[in-house]
Symmetry: C2
Subunit: 369 residues, 2 copies
């Protein structure tokens, strides 16, 4: 028994692919079968997700009855702190030991870390093989599994090594959220709020009204939030696959957030938590520029709080620390920090035209509280 399934298409010409959203999709192997072209599959997951869902996915794959079908799996340690080249190398090792060839398909079963690493392994293995995203966290369902950004962290910067590599499809089973810790649910909501803030004022208002239902995983509300988020992201990615322009708006809150994650060590702050705090900072700076009203900022802060997200960065982080990390952000061009800021609720711009002093004030405000 599954609830109605929704399908979205990410429109990227010959790299277009569907996103399937619904309840119980992890059991529906036929969905996967449509997107597996070779005779080898490797499911990559982590030690938290494996006991919950790996067997379900493997059983589904075995049910596909492809002649001479080889299905392997690899269970990695869980956590952002493992998102580095050495872990990706474990995927390469396993692929080579099990003799996977160019026609293999990797399946990323897990959250954003698994998706990013598996996607990057797929981009690089034999210079590129197919992969499928099966995101199991809200954050990865609404953000990282869509759009083809893959990669790993480096001690000196987040997501500094990677590739643009689009999946064959994305399978989002909303049932998997039932096993997600509340803190991670909140982290995922940060990205949903982001879509409202940068491009969909209606979504922002809807979130203000329904945040409690979302935190309680009311099925229709969760499905709608995921669908609207993926639709927003798919539209932006289709317009700018390789982040030459408008796609940068998706990084709203992320430049501040990456500084927090880098300083605190990956995984101590969840990505969504850091982005939540980063969005509050970006809103504060937008207010100082006279773009947002005090009320706008208050509404943003209220929604973040109602979502269970922090409003500011870690106490021990000072302005100078933020600036140091922000200088190596990928959005820095020729030494100039570029930020995504809000001209209105629901409308973001990329700008380097904010005045260093106002940025300082925002950063000091964050570290004072």
């Amino acid at each position: 028994m599954t609830s109605p399934q929704q399908t979205l298409i990410v429109d990227l010409g010959d790299r277009s692919y569907p996103i399937y959203i619904g309840s119980g999709l992890l059991q529906q192997s036929a969905l996967l079968g449509q997107h597996i072209t070779g005779k080898q599959v490797m499911v990559v997951t982590n030690s938290t997700i494996a006991p919950l869902y790996l067997q379900t996915v493997l059983d589904g794959l075995k049910g596909l009855k492809i002649e001479g079908f080889q299905v392997d799996s690899l269970v990695l340690e869980d956590g952002e702190k493992h998102k580095h080249l050495d872990t990706v190398n474990l995927i390469f090792d396993h692929l080579l030991r099990q003799r996977h060839n160019r026609t293999t398909t990797l399946i990323a079963l897990g959250g954003g870390v698994i998706g990013d690493m598996t996607g990057y392994a797929a981009a690089a293995y034999q210079r590129g093989v197919n992969f499928i995203q099966m995101p199991t966290t809200l954050l990865s369902q609404v953000d990282s599994s869509v759009g083809g950004k893959t990669g790993v962290n480096h001690p000196l910067g987040k997501n500094m090594i990677g590739a643009f590599h689009q999946p064959q499809c994305v399978v989002i089973d909303t049932e998997s959220l039932k096993t997600l810790p509340p803190r991670e649910l909140s982290a995922g909501l940060a990205e949903v709020i982001k879509y409202g803030l940068i491009a969909q004022p209606d979504l922002f208002v809807w979130l203000e009204q329904n945040i409690e239902q979302l935190r309680q995983l009311a099925p229709q509300f969760i499905s709608q939030a995921i669908y609207q988020s993926c639709e927003c992201k798919a539209r932006i990615v289709a317009a700018d696959e390789r982040e030459q322009g408008v796609r940068a708006l998706l990084n709203f809150g992320h430049t501040f957030g990456h500084a927090i994650e880098t300083e605190m060590g990956y995984g101590n702050w969840l990505h969504g938590e850091a982005v939540g705090a980063g969005m509050a900072m970006a809103a504060d700076l937008s207010y100082r520029l006279g773009w947002l009203t005090k009320l706008d900022v208050q509404r943003i802060q209220d929604l973040l709080t109602a979502s269970g997200l922090p409003l500011w960065g870690p106490e021990q982080m000072h302005a100078i620390t933020y600036l140091q990390h922000m200088q190596v952000d990928k959005k820095v061009t020729d030494g100039t920090i570029r930020l995504i800021l809000l001209q209105h609720l629901g409308e973001a711009v990329v700008t380097s035209d904010f005045g260093h002093e106002l940025l300082q004030q925002t950063l000091q405000q964050c570290s004072d509280i």
Copy 2:
């Protein structure tokens, strides 16, 4: 004073780029200037090439007079045994420490190993930055610097990790061959011979007539050999950038050759030497299939010998060892070994239709001699 310069275009739509071939081009910074769009450059080279040519290239870059221009360099250890992920990570480290952003340009100054690693670093750094190839060995000038294949080795297989990433341009200074050891010159000639064998029978005949002039680096002959090789490769790459079809022909001799390199440890046999032996094996199998005449095989062996190349693999390698390595070659699809074989001198095909027994005979022949 430079001799006339030739320019070839690799036609890949919006990823098209020029190959400049001439004497003294390392000094001609204006050539580079046309292809540097940002304000940061990092020259990556090795400990053999650095004392010979790095300062020349750095001086040229400094002469470009780009406002706020940042020029860094990184000297890696020389040799195929360093062509792995850990060395690429040294490039990432240096780029991050020197705060290179998305608009940086990497310049690969050296042979195929430097080109493959620098190109791969460029493909992966911040999900892709620009790079320029300045190949200094014959092998890299006629083969690896053209076509956008980048990557590194894995203990379980050669070039198993990588990306297709096209350079902004390729600058081939024929003067740099004067410092190339004769053994490496021979290794480069293996790839020139390959173009003759797979697609240009006239080139094969020309090589038979002029191999001595080439080994003595007679300028007009060397330029012509490089130009014809690049032209052949550019044409094949333009027809099939991502190796879905005809590009596989460029791997003539390479499946056997990779087996030798993997078994012997990278760098003990030069790539071109292994390919030379591999071409002799592929010719032998083509003869057993009735496609080549005994005379054809003799001519190939004579040209390889005249080029200073080995005719067979290492004595200690037996048929079973070849087969084990060949099973994990990238050209293996669904467990079937595919080889590039010659239907005639100057005409190659990809085939899995050669009969296991004939392959065994060829491999046994190799290990018996």
